[in-house]
Every structure is written in C-alpha cells, then in structure tokens.
C-alpha cells in the first residue's frame, strides 16, 4: 500500500519566543517492510539553522534553530511511503519461554540489537504490578507471537482510551494504575510488561491509516500521531509490531516514523525555548492510501483531522528577571 502523509504541528505562543532550538522526529523511517518514496519538511518561520541527520536507531532527525523572535511555529511534513510488511505467522514463532534466554545471549551490538530494548529506560520503570499483570497472559509454552498479541489484546480490553486523562509526561506506572490513557500510555505499559519478563520491546511512533479498508472498523488513534510496540521474537523472526491501543498486530496500515526505547527517544518535537506564558498547540494528521505510485502528491490536503493537545515536550523558560 502506498500512503501520502501530511503532518501539521503548530505552536502558538502567548509571548514572543526569543530563541528556540528544536529536534524533530517527524519523517517516516525506512525499515524492513517500509520504504520512503519521498519526504519533505517545512518549518515556518524559516529556521536560521537546520540540519538533517539520522539518530542511533536510524530515525530521520531534523534540527531547527530560530534566533529571531517569533510568536508561532508551524511544521508541515509531507511524505509518500510504501508499506508492505511481511505477514507474521504467529504459529511459527518460537515458544515464549525461550525468548528471554535468546535475548540475553544475543551478541549483536547494532541499533536493532535486543540489548538496547531490555531493562529500564527513561520512561520505563519495571514496577512489580506491571510485571505480574503481563506475566499472567504471557504463557511460556505458547508461541511468542500469540502470547504477546494476547497481552496487547488484554491491555486493549482492560484500559480505557481517554484522550486528556494523561499527559505527555505520564509514566507507565501511573497509566497502569489508572487503567486509562492514550496510545503512548498503552505502549509504555506493554513495553514495561514485556521487558519485566525479559522480552525485548521498543516504542514506535507513527501514523495509522485514517480510513479503514471496506468492512473493517476505524482504528483508534488515526487522527493524530499514533504509537505502538515492537517486540523481538527471536533471531529468526526478528522484530514484530503490536498495537495495544487496538489489540492487533501492526500491519500495512501502521506507518512507522521513529523507533526507540520509549517515548523520550522518539518525541516528534523536542525543544528548548525561552518564552513567558502558556502556549496553544495543534496537531493534525492526514493519511491517504492509494495503489498508484504514479499519482502526484496533492498540494493541499483537505484534512479530516481534528485538533488535539500537542504531544511535544517543549520546555519553556520564562525570562522574568527580578532583583
């Protein structure tokens, strides 16, 4: 499937921003089963400095620095991506019980090595309740794929999808205690549950196909950037995506932007800026599927997206100056 993607993120600052530096992870990544045909990023006002590089995990990373005072910032990312993931034969995955040992003994040191996706990371503590919760449906005798999918389904069943119930800073433990949240929280809970049981798991940010194929239900999380989990199923099967928000395997409708150990590695917009007062944000996504690679990309999108609080981790430093 080919997708034309449009992502728009904007910030309206109450006061003027003097100086800002951002790191953006908004362009789709290239990975097995996903090919980026083209991508373009526009930032307004035009940054005084900008660079594009790839981070450790191979995610495209753009830096944008503005020195001139500005009171709003808009980003627009457009991309065409071809997604054709191999079908996962859940029956062919190794027994879950063997996975933890295989992961521990794996000697790969590359960016996709299991060693990076075990244990704690900034957003992932390994609280006992989450460990136990996950262990309850991780049957060591079952095939790893089926067992992990059952965890994703359990999270979907047990947790309420409630935008606004949590914020971008919520950790896995808090979301778990509340049993509600958004895709980011579900992904963190699932990652913590898997890692606490020795299974390598990572965080994927990305897009979800907006309009479901005929006869299928519309998935949650399609009107904004989405998040899901990637789990390691052994040296032969490699990494497979699981979407705990929807209780499904990540398929051709999941378009990956960035992969990391948790949200902190993939935050779409990270910034340090100096301003006073609050800011308003918008965040809109449009994902248009088609089968024809020769189709020109649309110039403007009639976006169907709604507004939602942005999930940027911008940090503001007010420049109040006192005695």
């Amino acid at each position: 499937m080919i997708y034309d993607l449009v992502l728009k993120i904007g910030h309206d600052y109450a006061g003027s921003v003097a100086d800002a530096r951002h790191v953006l992870r908004v362009r789709p990544r290239t990975e097995p089963g996903q090919r980026v045909v083209s991508s373009a990023l526009a930032v307004a006002p035009e940054p005084d400095e900008s660079f594009a590089e790839a981070d450790f995990f191979g995610n495209p990373m753009d830096s944008a620095t503005l020195y001139r005072p500005h009171s709003r910032l808009d980003l627009e990312m457009r991309a065409r991506v071809e997604v054709s993931r191999r079908a996962v034969d859940l029956a062919a995955t190794p027994p879950l019980g063997r996975l933890a040992d295989a992961a521990r003994l794996c000697r790969s040191g590359g960016p996709d090595a299991p060693m990076h996706f075990l244990g704690r990371s900034r957003r992932i503590a390994l609280p006992d309740p989450v460990r136990t919760y996950a262990a309850e449906c991780l049957d060591n005798e079952a095939g790893a794929g089926a067992a992990i999918l059952s965890l994703a389904m359990r999270i979907k069943a047990d947790f309420a999808y409630r935008p606004g119930a949590t914020d971008v800073g919520t950790g896995a433990a808090a979301a778990f205690a509340e049993r509600r949240g958004v895709c980011q929280d579900f992904a963190h809970v699932m990652i913590a549950g898997l890692r606490a049981n020795g299974i390598p798991a990572g965080y994927v940010s990305g897009f979800l196909r907006t309009d479901p194929p005929p006869g299928q239900p519309r998935l949650e999380g399609a009107d904004a950037m989405h998040a899901w989990v990637t789990a390691w199923l052994g040296p032969d099967c490699g990494w497979v995506g699981f979407d705990p928000t929807n209780g499904v395997l990540a398929g051709d409708g999941h378009i990956a932007v960035a992969l990391g150990r948790d949200y902190d590695d993939v935050a779409p917009v990270a910034g340090v800026l100096v301003t006073a007062g609050p800011q308003r944000s918008y965040h809109a996504v449009d994902v248009v599927p088609h089968e024809d690679p020769s189709l020109p990309m649309r110039e403007t999108s009639a976006t169907s997206a709604s507004e939602k609080p942005s999930s940027s981790k911008d940090r503001k430093i007010s420049s109040t100056f006192s005695l």
């Binding site: 040191g109 075990l118 704690r120 503590a125 609050p278 940090r315 420049s319």
Partner: protein, 804 residues
Amino acid sequence: MTSESTALPSYASLVGVGRDEMIAPGGGVRPHYAPLLNALSTMPRSEREARFSSARQYLSEAGVFHQVYGSGDAAEQTHEWPLAQPPLVLDPAEWATLSEGLVQRAEFLERVIADLYGERRLVRDGVIPGALVGQNPEFLRPLSQQGLSGAPLIRFIAIDLGRGPDGRWWVLGDRTQAPSGAGFALENRVATSKAFPDISREMNVERLAPFFMRFRDTLYDLAGPDVTRIGLLTPGPHNETYYEHAYLARYLGLLLLEGGDLVVHHDRAEVRTVDGFRPIRVLWRRLDADFCDPLELFGGSRIGTPGFLRAVRSGALVTVNALGSGLLETAGLLAFQPALARATIGTELMLPTIATWWCGQEAARAYVTAHRERLQLAPAFPPAADAAAGLPAAEEITRLSARGFDELMRREGTAIVAQEVAALSTAPVFVAGRLEPRPVTLRVFLARDRDGWHVMPGGFARISDSRDARVVSLQRGGGSTDVWIPSDNPPRPVTLIGTGGTRFARRLPGAVPARAADNLYWLGRYAERCEVATRLLRLYGARTGEGWKAGELEMRIGGLLAELGVTVPPGDPVRGLLALARQAADTASRIRDRFSPDGWRTLREIVRLIVEAQDDDGTELVGLTSAILTHLSGFAGLVQENMYQFLGWRFMQSGRSLERAQMSARIAASLLSGEPPEGALEALLGFSDSSVTYRRRYFVDLSRETVVDLTVLDPLNPRSVAFQANALFEAVSALPGMDAGETPDMLFRRLARLRVRLQTAEAQEVAPAFLTRIGGDLADISDLFTRRYLLSSPRRGPGHEESE
C-alpha cells in the same frame, strides 16, 4: 615535652592483623616513614599542634569547603574541609611499580571505551554481556560512533585503590566521567606543606604542579594554536564539589563555565560574554554527561546547553573526558576484567581488581546467594540522571529472607553486583592528640598527553572515621590526607602559579561570561545594600539608644529600613540584616573563581557576626552595626586595592555605584519630604558619613541647601549622588561597545543626561520630586544595563516559572 617515640609502641599495639602503611609486621617503622615519624617524635606537642593549626588556618583562609547534601528538603550544608595529619607516605619503589600498573590500566580502559563506542566487538565476541552496554544509562546512543575516529575518549581519570593484607594495591573502582578530588589533593598539599615545609623538603616529596602543567598544555594542544581560553564546565554552585571547580579554574587559568553560559551556533559552541559570543573548543568537563544537552540527552536537565551534542559530533567541541566515558565506571565490568584485558591489550592486568560478581548471570547469582554474608551488593550500573528505581538499602537486603534474596537476584540481578568486602590497610593519623591506625583508600589521578599516560605523584587519601569502616567516604564522615612520594632527588621548583608561558603573556582577561558579570554586578549592589541598611540601622540605634523617644524622624528611618526588608524594634532587625548579608555572600560564592578568597571570607565573616548576634539576646545594635561596617569597609578596600581593575571589576563597581546613588537619593527624598522633622539634616549627614566634611567645608550652621549640596550634588564627596553617578558613568564608559565615536547606546545617553542633571542642579531645586526622578532614572539605567550586558542568557534557577 611529650615524645612520640614513647607513643610508638602504643601505636604498634593498635595495629591489627592487617597491613599497616607505617609499621612493618615485625613492629619496626617502614623506612620511607622514618624521616616523618622521627620529626614528629622529636618535636614538642605544642610545636606539632602549631604546625597542624597553620595547615588548618590555610584551609580556612582559602575557604576550602565541601558540601554535604541534606536529606529531603534540607539545604546542603557546607563543611570545613576535614584534613587529617600526617600525610600518607608511600614507598617510592612500590609507587613506581604501582604507577606502571596504573598506566597499563588507563590504556586498558581507553581500549575498552573505544570499542564500546565503536565496533562493540567486546559484545559481539561475547567478552561481556550486551546488557552491560544496552541497559547502561551511561551508554550514550547519540555518540555511539565516537570511538571510531581513534581520538582518545578519556584523558583525565582517577582510580580508587585499597591495599590488601598481602601488600598489593587493588582497584576498587574507576572514575572516568568527571573525577573529583584532584583539586582537593592540591589543597591538601598546599596546607600540609604549611605544616611541614622543612620535612617535605628533606624528604624530597614529589611535586604535583608539573602534572597539572602538562595537563594544561594538553588541553591547549587539543584546542589548536589560536585559542586563548579553555573552559571548565561545572554544574554550578549547588554541586558538592563546586569549590574544587572554581579552585582548579583559577589554578589552571580556565574559564569557569556553566551550561547556560554556552550556546551552540551551527556546529560550534560559543560562550555568551558581555562582549558578544566567543568560540570555545575545549571543555574540561565536570558536569555529568546526561545533563549536558536537554535536547538529545536528559530532557529534564536545567543545567545543560541545547545543541551541545551537535557540536560534539561535528568535532568542533572536545570535552575531557568525552561524554559517555562514565560507561567505564560500570561496576559490572569489574566482573569481566581478565577476559576484557585479554581481548583488548592481550595480556594480564598488573593490578588486581576487587573480586566482583555480576548478578545478571545464573552461575554468579548462585555463588552470591550461597555467600551473601561476606559479600556486599552494589549497583551494577552508574547512576542514571533520572533514576526511576534503585536498589533496596543495604540493611533491607541484609534482612531479606532466603526467598526474598533469591527473588531480588532473579528480578534485579542485571542491575546488581556483589563484591568482596575489601580488607583495607591502615595508615597513622592523629586522633585527639595521638596516632591511631585508620583504614585508608587512595584515589590516584592520571592524565594523558601526546606521549601517553602520566600518574600524578601523590593523590587523595581517604581516612575512615572508625577503625573498621567498610566504606570510606567523605559524604559519610571521615577525613583525607595528603599523599607523599619521597624521592632521592630534590625536585625542581616549579609551580603553575606565576609561571605563565608565552601563551599567557600580556593578555587581558578578555570577555567575561554574561553570568559572571551578572553576579559581579549584583555582588556590588548587594554589598552596598547591606551597607546602607547597616548605616540606617546604626543611625536608628544611636538615636533610640540615647533614650530618645521614637519620633517622626525615627519613623521615617524605620520606613526606609522596611523597604530593605529590615524591621526595627519591636521587630527583629538582625534577621533582615542577615538576609542582606547572606545575599551578598551567596552571590560572591557563585563567582569564587573571579574573586579573592579574602573578599569572600570577609563577607562570610559578616554573616557569622550577625548569626552570633542573633543567638545572643542582649545584642546592642550600635555595636553590631559598627562591627559590620568595619568589615564592609574592609571588603570595599580589598575590592579597590586587590582586585584586578578590568572588566569584572567594572561590573562590580557599576553595581556598587548604582546602588549607592539610588539609595542616597531615596534616603534624601524621604528625610527631606514635606516638613523635614527635627534632626533630619543631621541624620542625612550622619548617614552619609559627611559630618566632618561638612564642618570643614561650610562655616555655617546646618541648612537645607548646604546639606543637600554636600550629600547630593557635591562631585567630590564619595557619598553624594553626583559622585556615584560620575563613577557609574566612568565604569560604564569603559565597557565593551561604549567606544567613543560610535553612535551612543541608549544606556550611555541616559547616564550622560543624568550626570548633566546633577551637575547643573541648584541646591534649591533638589526637592523630593527631583530626587525621586533621579531614583527613577537610575532604575531605568539598571534595566538598560542589564539588557545590554547581563541578559544575554536567561537567568536559570530559582525565580523561574517553568512548565512542560
């Protein structure tokens, strides 16, 4: 005369079965200790005490202290530096052998880190488990390739050692991120030399200065030929070793920088100075890596520089040590030493490491569980900036049932090591006047230059508080001593202070970082504000003390004091005064690298005076305020006479002049407003210390005009508003960007106008409205000044609204 030789048998009897640094197993004194012990034995106790006290006095005068973190909300406290005597003396032949082992270890560590930030063969070949890298908070992924270039990632490290019963030195741990203690070792040396100048000469104790000089040259070599300044990056004044950072910066001539002083433009790091941005290429880093860049590393860091990693990756900024070198501090790596050594340097390590088991492996866990009584658990990884969960406390672990321990091992084993409890050697230190053997550990320092690694001939010895402490740490009490390596040859006299190669010749201090200038400016203002309040309070105390009933004049003075946060009786004026004095002393302690220890000590002394007065019920205001004023004039004298009168001094002077002019105008306006009360004119003269001058200059009785003339308009009276406006103008005119011939800056124009206003005013027109207007002008000038020179960086720290 008490002789130590009679005390020696008692020392020998205190030495346990373990190894003692001074006493050989047979009870005899080891030869390398003999000269020191002989000297100590033959000197009278009074002389010994006098020598120790001169060392202590040096430390206290230099303001050497360290901070101990309070628990919870309690603020950190500063403590006197716990220097113990006598120094630890090491046998030169043994030291030479030890040094070889240390250099080998440094080379080994260098290879390990290069691989882990490069090809990671050590993981691929199974030499170490991937978990030690993959789950390590010090493995910085944004720099995962930095070892490939071949440039060394570590250049200044410390290694902690303890000596076992067999006389061998054992490695207890590696300090490769930003090791502390080298500056304290230097201070210990200077202080100890004050106590034993003759003995250290006689023993030809190896000097430390050449080691530091070579390291400084290394830093300049790294920066390239045209670089004038190297920075020392500090977490700031709240860090426990900030004193050391300031000391080393002063000693090596480095620019003491905080993350907020730096900005990254394109690929380059620059320093925000009062004269614009100045490039910086090399930083000696004392800030933990994860805090360096809130954009790509720990996002919660408030003390970093956004874009820092970008400058590092481009190669334009070099840090010593490289960010991420803390990876080598991973205790888990100690469990794999022989294999790591074979894989990297192809040979055995000369220095053994403390026996360590990494509990991430089944076999190790079984061993540790079986021997838990004689092992100590510790974190396998270096601490994370945002550590979510730590190990249970040691006493909790001790109480764990067999099942509970098993469970802990299984769940958290990856994050735990078990180590043998080191049996440390003992060294002699004086405790309550007599020598006692105390367990000792040794921190040694190594620096790398183009020729390879060099060991600092000496180090930092930590002495335990109790005879059988398992862990020797300053944070938990205990002391430290100097470390002497005697030699057969007299050392060449060399010191960093005052040498200065051609590189330093005729170079003005140059651009002051905006933050330092800001602190200097406010130090000037706060010191002056403290003086104004003290003068007002003295005036108030003198009048009420003489039995006057508080009348209109006293009420006005009380109102002025209240504006400064000082409440007159029945309130507690001492409390307000203390707050003002602390403000000045705290500001001074933030710029200790640019400020004489004497000036800083004077301000601390004022704080101490007031604190004592507070504890004392019968404080008499006049006495206290006079004592404070004496100290403040001492401070002013030091600033005037001893401070290098360049940029930094001008900022301080500007703050002082501005504050004094503003306060003088405010006080005159208040005392002269409406119908001036009885005694207002005398009070104004008294406040500005101008009574004597007045009698000399005007042969008339007090009149409003003449008093105003002297205290506001007279350009020769240093207490007048006009004098201070002129002084401010002079100081500002000499600041960068105020060059004659250029379009005058707004700040310059406002100042010039103010001067003219004061120069041309008639005494009759100096009414409260005029004075209030002058005060307003000065407030505007302060704002312009701040915007022009000090506000190039956002003020961080308290007083900031922050939101996510």
